[in-house]
Amino acid sequence: MGLDYNIPEFIIERDQDRCIDCQVCQHQCANQVHAYDQDLEKMVAQDIDCVNCHRCVTLCPTNALIIRENPSEYKKNKNWTGNMIENIQKQAATGGILLTGMGNPTAKKIYWDHILLNASQVTNPSIDPLREPMELKTFLGRKPDQIEFDDNGELKDLPPQLELDIPIMFGAMSFGSISINACKSLAKAASDLGLMYNTGEGGLHQDLYQYGQRTIVQVASGRFGVHNEYLNAGAAVEIKVGQGAKPGIGGHLPGEKVGAEVSKTRMIPKGSDALSPAPHHDIYSIEDLRQLIYALKEATDYKKPVSVKIAAVHNVAAIASGIASAGADIIAIDGYRGGTGAAPTMIRDNVGIPVELALAAVDDRLRQEGLRKNVSLVVSGSIRNSADIVKAVALGADAVYIASAALISLGCHMCQKCYTGKCNWGIATQRPELVKRLNPEVGAQRVKNLITGWSHEIKEILGGMGINALESLRGNRLMLRGIDLTEKELEILGIKHAGK
């Protein structure tokens, strides 16, 4: 087609005074951006192939590299921005759908940043978590209205519960979308920390069965890797209906990512595309969902809670209420900033609603219907730090799923090119030479460090509020105030404006 109209997105600047020609950058770039030029006797770069993943920048031993956005400017236009123009050029060249990875990066309002937390002064003492106990333990699963004893005075067993030492779980990411070493890092960290991780729709690799008690096994529309042993290997089962990054559409793992291990784990032929249908073709209604929930409960002998994960969409409160009535023990709501291994850009950036508003609406609705005390609520979709978690719990969540944050702790630098399979950090790739870059022992330790840091921060924040157990924060919206929010937004969030 002749000239490619696209220009490099990034420009690589190399400080020749610092560069020692060690070629570490060259060895590390799966996009083959860097090369040693024998004639020029120095390192050179092919800017157009750079995705700005920072692998070379991070590993360069002399800090000789800087990657900048291409400073070339388009004629100023608030409507036809450079990004819009480039997207059109790309599609004009390929005729394809715009693809992307990770979460929605657009400049829409982030409600977490418009919510402020409370602290004690004088009338009640704040609590020092270094000196006093501070409890974050959380149980997910169906709770009865009240405690019950049988005729002999023996406690009746509670429905199955997931016990979390910290109200954080690692969100669904399949083996296939991420590497086995990324899966191992998360599974090991979850086990060591007393949390859960989620298999996503990728089945359970044999090496991960040892972490079963800390595993939520997912059942999604493609049913990849689902069999009896799989269902019973985990501590809970999650039905994935939707994903925040791409509500309403299915998934697509390209055949080149389906190597021997992925093929075996997913139970699909090697090299074949793994296509998850948009809907579950056995769930066209809420009563169908109920049947699947109970089919899974039957299959697991009612010993494991069943979660249903949906994307936060316009009618989320009513849908969640239906899910609770349909028998789900846990409802997971994934907001429109949630990450993905691959999604059409237009869908990721324009479909769904913010998880903060969805959470407030769902919690309110479930309370109005008296269901919230029975069903657990988990939210996800860009939980970026410990303060976001505290705000989510105060708005009404029992726990959160984090996925992007966990991957960032493993090395992800948010280049959003997961769908290319060339992740230089060994995370979103199946290429053996890249996968080995993530040592799962190092990975698990980094994730554990992150969660440990966050749990200390959560404890400090709780202590400041004069609270020493997480359950006293759950749904406690008096601990929240809004800034720069409209009356309507405050009403939906169920919080007051700062100063009131």
Binding site: G370, S472, K496
Partner: protein, 367 residues
């Protein structure tokens, strides 16, 4: 009521005191007034009150409904409601005397009443539930009216002023009870309304409370799912309803209810015997939102006695003493020594450790 629609929960410091005669022998209100008066400095004159159990032996089968009214219109409206829903044996003004320091009291009235049989069967409710719902209805929906107490053979006397003046105002020396609790209030803001004083009640549960419940927002929204309406915007009201929910509606023992509101730490649960551990874990799992967090000492009064309790890490004072017939509990030891100079036993309970004072023969209420 004035101030009853305040936006915020009302924060307060306070003094509390309680005396139980375990044999059920009744005694006048003079001692409890002396006890709470000694802790004058812990109040600021913006609220005082008393709960008295056993004061209406002649009407002990009837619900004794104590009411505040802002004006006669409010009284008329509520009485219209009460007359339709209850058979009222007696309706009378609660006797008071002129006290210099007490000004602007509301209209204070009491009714001895039983639920209207026909309405009761119409709604298909037990007596207590019927009364509880009526109380909630009046407090939420009748402007200028407030139910002060609604139990049998008990009553609450409270208002704006120092507790000793409130006691004087209500002529408490003329009442005889086997259990008295008292409260002197030090609110950090000044709504100055009579309904805001302690004790808070529902049926024969009464709560006097020193402290602030940081978990109020969570407790309130939890209670709402069970039909409770927290209209007073005070955390003390929520405590009262939590006990009503667990003890009356869910038939929990006092011991189990304590394990919910002042739950043992997970580290303690970890060390329990398997059976006890299972129960404690189940209680925290189911009743997590009933956990009271933040500094508090409370006395829960009821017909069988009292429960006194501190928050789990003891951020408010609480002292207990015993002599031959009585159990005393107060914010300060001096308030006990004032009325019982040589108790047989004096101790300070640990955080979260319940102090149970029960009438003889009613021990089964505990476990």
């Amino acid at each position: 009521m004035k101030g009853s629609r305040a936006e915020e929960k009302i924060m307060s410091g306070c003094a509390i005191s309680g005396i139980l005669n375990r044999k059920g022998n009744r005694f006048s209100g003079e001692e409890i007034i002396d006890s709470i008066a000694l802790m004058h400095e812990r109040s600021n004159g913006l609220g005082g009150g008393f709960a008295a159990y056993g004061i209406y032996p002649e009407f002990k089968e009837q619900y004794a409904i104590h009411m505040f009214y802002d004006d006669l219109d409010a009284k008329e409206e509520v009485e219209y409601f009460l007359n339709r829903h209850f058979n009222i044996a007696v309706a009378e003004k609660i006797p008071t005397r002129e006290v210099d320091k007490i000004s602007n009291p509301p209209i204070i009235w009491r009714y001895f009443a039983m639920p209207n049989e026909q309405k009761l069967s119409e709604f298909g409710l037990a007596d207590d539930e019927y009364v509880a719902q009526s109380v909630m209805n009046i407090n939420a929906n009748y402007r200028g009216a407030f139910v002060v107490s609604s139990g049998k053979n008990m009553g609450v006397f409270k208002g704006v002023g120092y507790p000793e003046d409130i006691g004087d105002f209500y002529k408490l020396e003329e009442y005889e009870a086997y259990l008295w609790t008292a409260h002197g209030r030090f609110p950090t803001n000044t709504p100055g309304w009579w309904g805001g004083a302690h004790p808070f009640t529902l049926l024969d549960w009464s709560i006097v409370h020193n402290g602030e419940i940081s978990s109020y927002g969570a407790n309130k929204r939890y209670l709402e799912m069970f039909g409770y309406k927290c209209t007073m915007q005070t955390d003390t009201e929520a405590i009262t309803y939590l006990f009503d929910l667990m003890l009356r509606k869910h038939k929990l023992s006092l011991e189990s209810a304590v394990k919910a509101v002042a739950a043992p730490l997970w580290s303690e649960i970890e060390r329990m015997e398997p059976k006890e551990k299972k129960i404690a874990t189940a209680i925290r799992t189911i009743y997590g939102n009933a956990l009271l967090n933040g500094p508090f000492s409370i006395i829960l009064g009821h017909k069988d006695g009292f429960l006194a309790l501190n928050d789990r890490i003891k951020l408010r004072p609480l002292v207990v003493a015993e002599d031959e017939e009585r159990t005393y509990v107060a914010s300060e030891e001096s308030a006990i020594r004032e009325i019982c100079s040589e108790p047989e036993k004096v101790w300070t309970p640990r955080g979260g450790e319940p102090v149970i004072g029960l009438l003889e023969g009613r021990e089964e209420v505990w476990a």
